[in-house]
Subunit: 343 residues, 2 copies
């Protein structure tokens, strides 16, 4: 119920109704309805007649009314934090490809990483009777938000970022493993002073990564210098900011492991501005393997996080939950891969 008063709405033009189609075709409304739903219990003759009338009158099926009556839903909602981030647009691609197969129509919401927006979007989607929700939660999502959806008993799949203290269907990546692989790669190349830049330290995805970062160091018997760990917003701008600390560091690292490719791009820009050559003076590794990593310079070694697959898995899991009625929660964790790119 947040501020219904302010919501925009607009008059619609009158549509042709099923009743009118029925009259035009000389059958009852129920018969016309059966034809609209492609029922097999209608003689070919009447079917043709009705279809013809629909065409002539320009009839458009009112799925909203149908869903209301039959208490069903043909829509799902997907909520992401940022469309302009290729990670999420790739994820969206995966979701779309899967869900359109099943015939769902998808509501898209963008939170711009704001909790308020997220709450509002979830409300609006519930009010629009979505049959299910895929949520890529903002960092500081409250348990209450999730419980609200669970109480209404609408299937939800949380993707990308896992929420603490609450059991949900979840599709994500083994970030710890990914960070470990990336860090080990740098350590094996002989780096001993590695920075970890970017990402919000309150998010689970950050914690999992830092965990892998430490594990790799431990395996190699090398200590982590915690002054080389700098968090930031998970955007390119965040990367530009975070790298300043490194540039001004009295004892500069020789390599940087970035929270994400977006961060890495910011880091590259920031280093260049400071006259430091990324890839030569300082080695950089990213995370996500977004398409741009192929064409960026220096070529970016990164960890593939398979956003499209995450999207596809989330979509399938949601569909599964929407069509079965067990309340069991599932977790799907994809394994990351290191993508080495040399100059």
């Amino acid at each position: 119920m947040n501020g219904l008063g302010e919501i925009m709405s607009n008059k619609q033009s009158r549509r042709v109704t099923l009743m009118e189609v029925a009259n035009h075709a000389g059958v009852s409304r129920a018969t016309a309805s059966l034809v609209a739903r492609n029922s097999t219990k209608i003689s070919n003759d009447t079917k043709e007649k009705v279809l013809q009338s629909m065409k002539e009158l320009g009839y458009v099926y009112d799925r909203i009314a149908a869903n209301l009556r039959s208490q069903t839903s043909t829509t799902i909602g997907i909520i992401i934090t940022d469309v302009a981030n290729t990670f999420f647009s790739e994820l969206l691609l995966g979701v779309h490809q899967e869900l359109e197969k099943f015939g769902y129509t998808v509501f898209l919401g963008t939170t711009f990483d704001s909790v308020d927006n997220q709450v509002k979007l979830i409300s609006t989607m519930l009010e629009h009777r979505v049959g299910g929700i895929i949520l890529c939660p903002v960092s500081s999502t409250s348990t209450e938000t999730i419980e609200r959806v669970q109480n209404i008993d609408i299937p939800m799949v949380v993707a990308v970022r896992e929420l603490p203290f609450i059991e949900t269907n979840y599709v994500g990546l083994n970030y710890t493993q990914g960070a470990k692989k990336a860090t080990s790669y740098l350590l094996e190349k002989g780096h001993t002073r590695i920075a970890f830049l970017g990402g919000r330290s309150e998010s689970s995805t950050w914690h999992e990564r830092i965990e892998g970062f430490y594990q790799a160091h431990q395996n190699a018997g090398i200590n982590v210098d915690s002054s080389l760990i700098v968090d930031s917003s998970p955007t390119r701008e965040g990367g530009i900011e975070a790298v300043q600390t490194i540039i001004n560091h009295p004892n500069r690292p020789t390599a940087i492991f970035c929270f994400s490719d977006m961060i890495a791009f910011g880091v590259i820009i920031g280093l260049r501005k400071a006259g430091i050559t990324p890839g030569e003076d300082i080695e950089i590794v990213g995370f996500d393997n977004v398409p741009e990593t192929e064409i960026v310079y220096p070529p970016l070694t990164t960890v593939s996080s398979f956003p499209q697959q995450i999207g596809a898995e989330a979509a399938n899991l949601l569909h599964k939950k929407m069509t079965s009625d067990t309340n069991e929660k599932e977790r799907i964790i994809l394994q990351p891969e290191l993508v080495k790119r040399d100059k």
Copy 2:
């Protein structure tokens, strides 16, 4: 009526209704409805009572039912060809930022550049009673498709690509001007053999660009070698393909004007694979100024096509058409800018 039978739908859990809220609060359904809509004609006392009941019962407003009764819509649809293309995700960003202000919830559809998908998506959205549609049409959109929407009298804004032979609201860019600027830039740098790569030659956006390409040549008094014009699908893969012709050309051009940045990225990859250094052996100019052009190597000079503004303008225009009832069509054409980037 395309294949209603195959459409997935799923049972929803029973919701708390306004009637139940009314009973719980000891008021009539009409009163509860007024509270839900934040009417001023309700005493604070009853309002509080009703709101309290809503909270206790976990009431969720059913906007679908409300819209059905009041013949309104709070949704709009946006149809794009490809989410993974940053041009479109930036456009989407602009649309979202504007439309969420007005309180619309947005349906997203992706055509993957298929006419069939486009027709299906438009149908589904109409069936879901969208109040308006923003359409970034696929290359070979039929007049019929557009007329279908116009007949139902639902406002539509066509964006990015203009359709011939049909009057619609349109938001786009002066592509001719952009192509002319880019080509002139290359000509002024002394290039006399310039290729034009990528894009579908049946689309208006291609024609407008080639027009600018020719105009620039004419102004400079230089002839165009039409064997250097190669079309392709408007994707990175398309760019990789198209550049093959240039690589194998007996008389190679010294510069390439690419249909889009996506094409340019493909061209860069293709040239590198063939052992040709982009930016040195052959100069490249793109079109769109997608964010990646900042970090790509070689730095890409490009034409800014302001996707986010296009999205925002389209959203505003749609809102305007949805709230006024003139049937007048408007055209908004943004002016492109050349963004020079040096190595």
